[in-house]
């Protein structure tokens, strides 16, 4: 297969390229450089929104596109974020239709459902995307998810796969990994919700599994078996501090504005309420099984220090 990966220089782009390049032809598109790129991976260093980008797809003859060129930096201005993510994604979708690419894989997140008091223990793919109710920054990701869903219905000839993985743990700068890397980990006193985490390598495997012919649709992706938050914290080996929940949000918001924390205030809800998913359909459709259990995942987190976070 000839596979195009947008955002190949990012963490998942690189992990995925490593998995695919020996068996498939991999073409990467990213405006960032790709250090230590395997020799057989072709890289086009260009902004996905540029007109010139279309040439890559026109000449490419791709069998699949994996669109990972999505910004998740909650510090970036929301306007930048929005245009980059939505424009970039709609461009890629247009190219898929125009150049008859039969497969498109996109990465969303289980965060789109949002942690809520009334959530069932396991959310299915049909659950409403309520993540934006309290957390404005995530509306971007919800818009992207919705955009991909409408594309899925409008263009049945492109097998679109939207993956919604749970909290990703690894050398990534996302809220759950940042949180678990803190030296003193804050917790909400009296709350210990069940959580699902997934090793970053398993996310890359899940994307690879989604490339299988015949797989299409929206899928939740879960990693290790659910555990209480307290178990995760114990595995970090770090001391934890309990805060009363009614003070926590205001405090975190202050710290965020003062740039003393990388943890957006509404994410505090994840420490209070459950936001877990049922990954049965994805397992059934692809046979995917996460390779890393909780111990392996948390050991991996301990190995990824701040220095790894380019």
């Amino acid at each position: 297969m000839r596979i195009a990966i947008t955002g190949i220089s990012g963490r998942f782009g690189r992990l995925l390229a490593q998995r695919l390049h020996r068996r498939h032809t991999v073409v990467g598109i990213d405006r960032r450089p790709y250090h230590e790129r395997p020799a057989d991976v072709e890289l086009h260093q260009i902004d996905i929104r540029r007109q010139r980008c279309e040439d890559i797809f026109r000449a490419g003859g791709f069998d699949a596109v994996v669109h990972l060129n999505v910004m998740h930096d909650p510090r970036a201005s929301s306007e930048d974020h929005h245009t980059f993510n939505i424009r970039g994604t709609t461009r890629v979708m247009e190219y898929c239709v125009r150049y008859a690419i039969p497969k498109l894989v996109l990465l969303s997140s289980a965060d789109v459902y949002g942690p809520r008091a009334e959530n069932p223990q396991f959310l299915t793919e049909d659950a409403p995307l309520m993540g934006g109710t309290r957390f404005g920054e995530i509306r971007d990701l919800i818009a992207l998810d919705m955009c991909a869903q409408s594309f899925f219905w409008k263009h049945p000839d492109v097998a679109t796969v939207i993956l919604r993985p749970v909290h990703i743990i690894g050398a990534v700068r996302n809220a759950p990994s940042n949180y678990l890397r803190l030296l003193h980990i804050p917790r909400l006193a009296g709350f210990d919700p069940m959580l699902q985490v997934i090793h970053e390598a398993d996310v890359a495997d899940a994307i690879a599994a989604a490339l299988k012919p015949g797989v299409r649709g929206v899928y939740n992706v879960a990693g290790c078996a659910p555990v209480p938050l307290s178990t995760l914290l114990r595995l970090t080996g770090r001391p934890r501090i309990d805060f009363p929940h009614f003070l926590a949000e205001a405090a975190v918001e202050r710290l965020w504005r003062l740039r003393l924390t990388n943890f957006p205030a509404p994410e505090v809800d994840h420490l209070q309420y459950v936001c877990m998913v049922d990954d049965g359909p994805f397992r059934a459709a692809t046979g995917f099984r996460p390779a890393n259990d909780l111990d392996a995942t948390m050991a991996h987190l301990r190995l990824t220090s701040a220095a790894d976070l380019r």
């Binding site: 008091a117 959530n119 069932p120 009296g190 210990d192 069940m194 555990v227 209480p228 929940h245 209070q272």
Partner: protein, 308 residues
């Protein structure tokens, strides 16, 4: 009126005064913390058998941790054997595998759920962990939410009930919800309106329904009046006024040491389309409701006294 009714159930019958004095003595002796004496020897083993289903994990998917019950076991056993002196009926004719217990709900605080759970853990053959469907505001409460999750209680949503039944668990539902538990004493042992959700789930997952009638809980906090405006102000489900609360302060918060009688009915099997209209569900729900009401009526008529 309430006090009169409670007294009328036997204590002014002079010919039986001696018998009652003895019984009062038994209650008072029971109130002493004589935990060790009555703690069933195999209780810890019974709790350990619940861990078999976890497959080596410390909690299940819902956060249930049998180990968390162990430190509570002496207190639970004291409540069960000494304070409420629970008597069970029909406990040994229960179906194995997935089952839906449908019970009346009463007594202001959900001690009825706790006692049903204790009955199945202490006396069930085999011991079973009962997963009650709890109110939707519970996950917002610190400590309470965590405690409930650890002892196996689960947020009451249809999805959660389905997940548990598919795992062959024993699920306990109170279809009256807060309408039942917060009713005042003038409505004692009269079942309030039933929700229909449990019937759809039973049909969908081919689950036997076991009707359960709890007799005794109505008298633990006989509410004369519910201060609804204050309850709304404090965001509480109810603020009951009982003969002892708030008149006697903190003492009034203790439940009266009534005797619990828990009647488990014969399993009821229903079949049909779980997506049928409400009216079709209503008929089936009424059969379950009637079964519980019959057991309640019989249980109330047959009991010797509220306290013994």
């Amino acid at each position: 009126m309430v006090v009169a009714r409670m007294l009328a159930l036997g204590s002014i019958d002079l010919s039986r005064a001696l018998h009652h004095a003895e019984a009062i003595g038994r209650v008072l002796r029971g109130l002493e913390l004589t935990v060790e004496r009555r703690l069933p020897a195999d209780l810890i083993d019974r709790i350990d058998t619940l861990k078999a289903d976890l497959g080596g994990r410390s909690t299940d998917d819902f956060g249930f941790d049998p180990e968390a019950i162990k430190p509570l076991a002496p207190f639970l056993a004291w409540l069960y054997y000494e304070y409420f002196r629970v008597e069970t009926f029909g406990l040994h004719d229960l179906p194995a595998g997935r089952v839906l217990f449908v019970s009346n709900h009463s007594g202001q605080l959900p001690i009825d759920g706790m006692m049903i759970g204790s009955a199945l853990l202490f006396e069930g053959r085999p011991p079973r962990a009962v997963r009650s469907m709890i109110e939707r505001w519970v996950p917002s409460l610190p400590f309470v939410s965590t405690f409930f999750a650890r002892v196996g209680q689960v947020l009451g949503t249809p999805e959660n009930c389905r997940t548990l039944l598919l795992q062959d668990e024993a699920v306990l539902v109170f279809p009256e919800g807060i309408r039942g538990i917060n009713k005042t004493y003038d409505k004692a042992y009269q079942l309030q309106a039933f929700g229909h959700g449990f019937m759809r789930l039973a049909l969908e997952n081919r689950t036997p329904i076991v009707p359960v009638a709890v007799v005794g809980a109505e008298e633990q906090y006989p509410a004369l009046w519910n201060l609804e405006p204050l309850a709304r102000l404090l965001a509480l489900p109810a603020v009951p006024i009982t003969p002892l609360f708030p008149l006697t302060g903190l003492l009034g918060l203790l439940p009266l040491p009534v005797r619990y009688r828990i009647h488990f009915g014969r399993p009821m099997y229903f079949s049909g389309d779980p997506h049928e209209e409400e009216a079709a569900m209503h008929d089936r729900v009424m059969q379950v409701k009637q079964a519980i009401q019959d057991m309640l009526d019989r249980g109330v008529a047959e009991r010797e006294h509220i306290f013994w």
